[in-house]
């Protein structure tokens, strides 16, 4: 045992020239010792001798000299590399192109992913900052919102020692600021005292001390301040807020970037707002947003378990639908979807998806490299043979080939860096981000280089091994063929490439199909040609509103005008479970009714279909007591004939005067909920105007003119309902656009590889084609012969991609209540497309090969 081990150890370090005789000597001693002193001594002595033989002068020569830098050798390696690149510049170019495009695409994607992950990351003590959320449970569903009971903010800190600070803030308010002749509108929030202690902002003027304690304090973002004051300092200056009087600027802070889930241009004191929102003082109302800072090291699951019944506790006898919990603010952006009280993900799915796409693109690019290198290996076999004959070791050859691949990859990475710098701005514009990339930035360029080197290493290692492993004799005999093993590996890799790129194409097509579906879905109302204008300033006055309506309708471009609390897009509107009732309503029925306050002509403006009854009538004064309901509400009421049934909504008892057909008033991710429409002009917030759509410019000019006259203090602001509708699906649209580009890139890189392989095949089969032609094969026949093999590979890749993408995308579509079917057409289109581009790609070489004169290719035989 010991002897065998000793022998092995000795062979490991000893110079190979000395091994035989010294081992022989050792053997002789061993035999002597075996006879004289027994086996255990002999064995031990053998090992001791081996250990003592570890001497400088007996070591393998490599151990000493291998690591010393041999400049001449390195020079040779680089020189050979550049000569090879130059000699095979077509292939080098293909590789550089593929790798550069691959690096550019995947680094851009990774930058996007990184910027998505860094949303909300700017807060100090990020790990302690939490958003307060609330589950509202009704008999059928649980919805999760940011709306929480108002009194929570005053008691939360006292009741739970874990809470270091808590602050309330409102939904965004659009307010008009006036400073002498400067007018500017901003969107901001009313927030309570500790807000700035939790939400980190960088103050340029003023600071967070005693912030929001006095009712006239105003905090402005840098850009809002600049619009009002220019470059002058603003601290302690007076600004008028339309409808709220004078405020003193108490602080100016750096703009809150779009990297925050809570955004605002200004902050005003919460106590002013509560003054005219008395309802926030009750535990059974929701509406206030809350953020909290917990003590360091609080176990969040335990804390959530502790506060689960808090609202119920406060309500006492009355049954609570709400139950609060907190979510780390850093997770708020990526994990925002809750279904029935369970976190189901959110944007994180897109982040994972895009990361996967980035990795796959890199993979496709390195597969190109591997395939081209192994395919070309026969060309370099002679070089390997000759080098080996003159004494080059395997290690040296390995180094040579690795150097080549690392050089190519590094060069491509640098080139990609330049492209990334050029493309980052267009990408920013596309996805609405402010990402930055520069090769001069040390961190970023080092990371790019690392990606380049690792791809170079991964894709270089296999071909280098294959090449340096060639048997000298086989290679130099001249009848050398690349091994069957590397051939089938190459085929497998091509199949894999096309599986990935067709999966990407199919997925993108399905995303597009769903986007089209959402665009064209019959929503139950007409979303085109509706202009929305927020009601502000003098438009709060009902007389002015009546005047506006009649003046707009006087213009032939305007067909209908209606005021309402919301447009048909009710995403975070008012809702109530107990506020709506009828005599037969069972106590157990816990359903949440969405409330829409609409004035006359609302249904007509949106062409919402009335199934029964009538719309609100200006001539009937009692209509303000009555309601119109949708089919869902009618079903829930569960009475024989809901029409004309007596109902009570928030203290007003009237009748159901109409039932409208269900229309999609929330995102297509979810179904249609019960809706109650009531006539309360006091709650109107928005003007909905239907225009003909023929003279949009003229219509808008008219609207602008009338608004300027009636509401001169406010700048004209409008948007089209259609745009707001699309904005709902922002993340789907972004993913759709990114998908388009990046699946295109993936297929492009795969085709580059195919192009290279086709040219290689054409070259290899030149004699075969010559013989075929001599024997009478036609051009078409030869092209088919050439194409057959590649089409088969692409076809297999496509077939594997089908089930893969089907299950994946079916899952994605599952997140929509209203969804398109995957359908056969998508696969047909993708299949045909990949077939077609494959033919085009290899066609060039196939035609060229088929048209060569057989005399040329067979001349030297």
């Amino acid at each position: 045992m010991l002897k065998r081990f000793g022998t092995r150890l000795f062979k490991l370090y000893c110079h190979s020239g000395y091994q035989e005789d010294i081992l022989g000597d050792l053997d002789e001693y061993y035999q002597q010792n075996l006879v004289k002193k027994g086996s255990s001594y002999a064995n031990a002595k053998f090992l001791v001798d081996v250990l003592l033989l570890f001497r400088l002068s007996l070591l393998r020569d490599k151990w000493l000299y291998q690591n010393s830098i041999n400049i001449a050798m390195i020079q040779t390696i680089f020189k050979t590399s550049f000569r090879v690149f130059w000699k095979e510049r077509g292939y080098a170019l293909l590789n550089v192109l593929g790798l550069t495009v691959g690096f550019t695409a995947s680094v851009l994607l990774l930058l996007y992913v990184e910027s998505e992950q860094s949303v909300n990351g700017f807060h100090k003590d990020l790990d302690q900052v939490y958003q307060v959320l609330e589950h509202q449970t009704f008999s059928e569903t649980t919805i999760t919102t940011e709306s929480t009971p108002g009194p929570l903010i005053t008691t939360f800190k006292e009741d739970f020692p874990e809470v270091e600070a808590v602050a309330a803030y409102t939904w965004p308010y659009e307010l008009l600021f006036t400073k002498e002749d400067q007018r500017h509108k901003g969107s901001g929030r009313w927030a309570s005292e500790d807000f700035f202690k939790i939400f980190s902002v960088d103050f340029i003027e003023g600071n967070a001390d005693s912030a929001l304690t006095s009712p006239t304090q105003l905090y402005l973002s840098k850009s809002t301040k600049e619009r009002l004051f220019g470059d002058e300092p603003a601290l302690s200056q007076t600004v008028d807020i339309d409808g709220f009087g004078s405020f003193q600027v108490a602080g100016v802070f750096e703009d809150v970037s779009n990297e925050s889930t809570i955004d605002f241009d200004f902050i005003t004191p919460y106590q002013v707002w509560t003054g005219w929102n008395e309802w926030v003082n009750y535990w059974d109302n929701n509406g206030i947003r809350g953020i909290a800072k917990l003590q360091p090291g609080v176990d969040i699951d335990q804390f959530n378990a502790k506060i689960e019944g808090y609202v119920q506790e406060k309500l006492g006898e009355q049954e609570a639908t709400a139950s609060i919990f907190v979510q780390p603010l850093k997770d708020r952006y990526l994990y925002s979807n809750y279904e029935n009280g369970q976190l189901t993900g959110g944007r994180i799915i897109y982040i994972r998806l895009l990361t996967a796409v980035a990795v796959f693109i890199l993979l496709i690019a390195s597969i190109n490299f591997i395939n081209l290198a192994t395919a070309r290996s026969t060309k370099r076999a002679k070089e390997v043979g000759v080098k080996k004959v003159v004494g080059s070791g395997r290690g040296h050859l390995l180094l040579q080939f690795m150097t080549e691949s690392l050089l190519l990859a590094t060069f491509s990475a640098l080139l990609a860096g330049i492209f990334i710098m050029l493309l980052i701005e267009p990408l920013n514009a596309l996805v609405g981000k402010s990402m930055a990339f520069s090769l001069l930035d040390f961190d970023q360029s080092v990371r790019l280089l690392l990606i380049g080197l690792s791809v170079g290493f991964v894709s270089g290692i296999y071909p280098s091994m294959v090449l340096s492993n060639f048997k000298t004799i086989n290679v130099l005999k001249g009848s050398f063929k690349s091994s069957r093993g590397s051939n089938s590996l190459r085929k497998g890799l091509v199949v894999f490439q096309f599986m990935i790129s067709t999966t990407l194409i199919i997925s993108t097509l399905i995303v597009q199909k769903q986007l089209d579906f959402m665009e064209n879905k019959d929503l139950g109302y007409t979303k085109e040609n509706v202009v929305l204008v927020p009601l502000e300033g003098t438009l709060w006055n009902r007389d002015v509103r009546a005047q506006l309506k009649s003046r707009l309708l006087a213009n032939p471009n305007f067909t209908h005008v209606a005021y309402s609390s919301e447009s048909t897009l009710i995403n975070s509107g008012t809702s109530s479970a107990s506020g709506f009732s009828w005599s037969e309503k069972e106590n157990e029925l816990e359903a949440n009714f969405n409330l829409l306050f609409a004035e006359y002509d609302f249904l007509e403006t949106y062409t919402i279909e009335l199934l029964k009854g009538r719309s609100f009538d200006p001539l009937l004064a009692t209509d303000s007591m009555h309601v119109i309901i949708n089919e869902q509400t009618a079903k829930l009421m569960n009475v024989e004939d809901p029409l004309d049934h007596t109902v009570t909504l928030w203290g007003r008892t009237g009748r159901v005067i109409g039932i409208v057909k269900d229309f999609n008033f929330s995102s297509l991710h979810s179904g249609i909920d019960p809706l109650v429409i009531s006539l309360r002009p006091g709650n109107s917030q928005v003007l909905n105007a239907r225009i003909t759509g023929e003279n949009n410019q003229e219509s808008l000019t008219h609207l602008d003119k009338v608004l300027k006259e009636l509401n001169p203090n406010y700048p004209f602001e409008y948007n089209f309902l259609e745009d707001s509708y699309e904005a709902q699906y922002q993340s789907e649209l972004v993913i759709g656009t990114l998908g388009n580009y990046f699946s295109g890139i993936a297929i492009f890189i795969s085709l580059l590889g195919l192009f290279g392989l086709a040219s290689f095949a054409a070259e290899q089969r030149i004699k075969e084609i010559g013989v075929r032609k001599v024997l009478g094969a036609g051009v078409l026949n030869i092209i088919l012969q050439m194409a057959k093999g590649f089409l088969l590979l692409v076809g297999i890749g496509f077939l594997v991609a089908i089930p893969f993408s089907y299950f994946f995308m079916d899952d994605w579509l599952g997140a929509f209540t209203y969804r398109t079917e995957v359908g056969v057409s998508v696969f047909l289109i993708a299949g045909l497309a990949s077939l077609l581009i494959t033919i085009v790609t290899i066609g060039y070489h196939a035609i060229k090969a088929a048209n060569t004169n057989p005399v040329k290719s067979l001349r030297y035989e």
């Binding site: 000395y18 005789d21 010294i22 081992l23 000597d25 053997d27 001693y29 003592l52 033989l53 007996l58």
Partner: protein, 112 residues
């Protein structure tokens, strides 16, 4: 003279190789040294001395015939080169010269 430099152990090994002329391989040299000088010599020290002196050019070596003993491994026989002889002579000569230079008085060990 640097180029003739020999360590004490090296010198003994070199001399032993000469003594064993024609039969000087590892085991034999070791046994010879142990027998004549009555001291232990480790394989490691011996082998590294041999190779070192081969590098310096004092010794040459060649592999012998394959035999059935020693697991079929060949022996390496060492021989002194002319240069080795020169070095040996030089070393011994310098020592002798030194010895001769010592004044007679130095060896008169009378009690003072």
């Amino acid at each position: 003279m640097k180029r003739y430099q020999l360590g004490e152990f090296e010198e003994i090994v070199l001399l032993t190789v000469g003594v064993l002329h024609g039969d000087a391989y590892g085991v034999a040299i070791k046994e010879e040294i142990e027998k004549r000088l009555n001291r232990k010599a480790s394989v490691g020290a011996l082998q590294s001395a041999l190779r070192r002196m081969e590098d310096k050019g004092f010794l040459t070596s060649e592999l012998g015939e394959t035999t059935k003993t020693r697991g079929g491994k060949r022996k390496r026989y060492f021989k002194i080169t002319a240069f080795g002889k020169e070095a040996l002579d030089y070393n011994i000569q310098t020592r002798l010269d030194l010895l001769r230079e010592i004044p007679n008085v130095a060896f008169q060990f009378k009690p003072c």
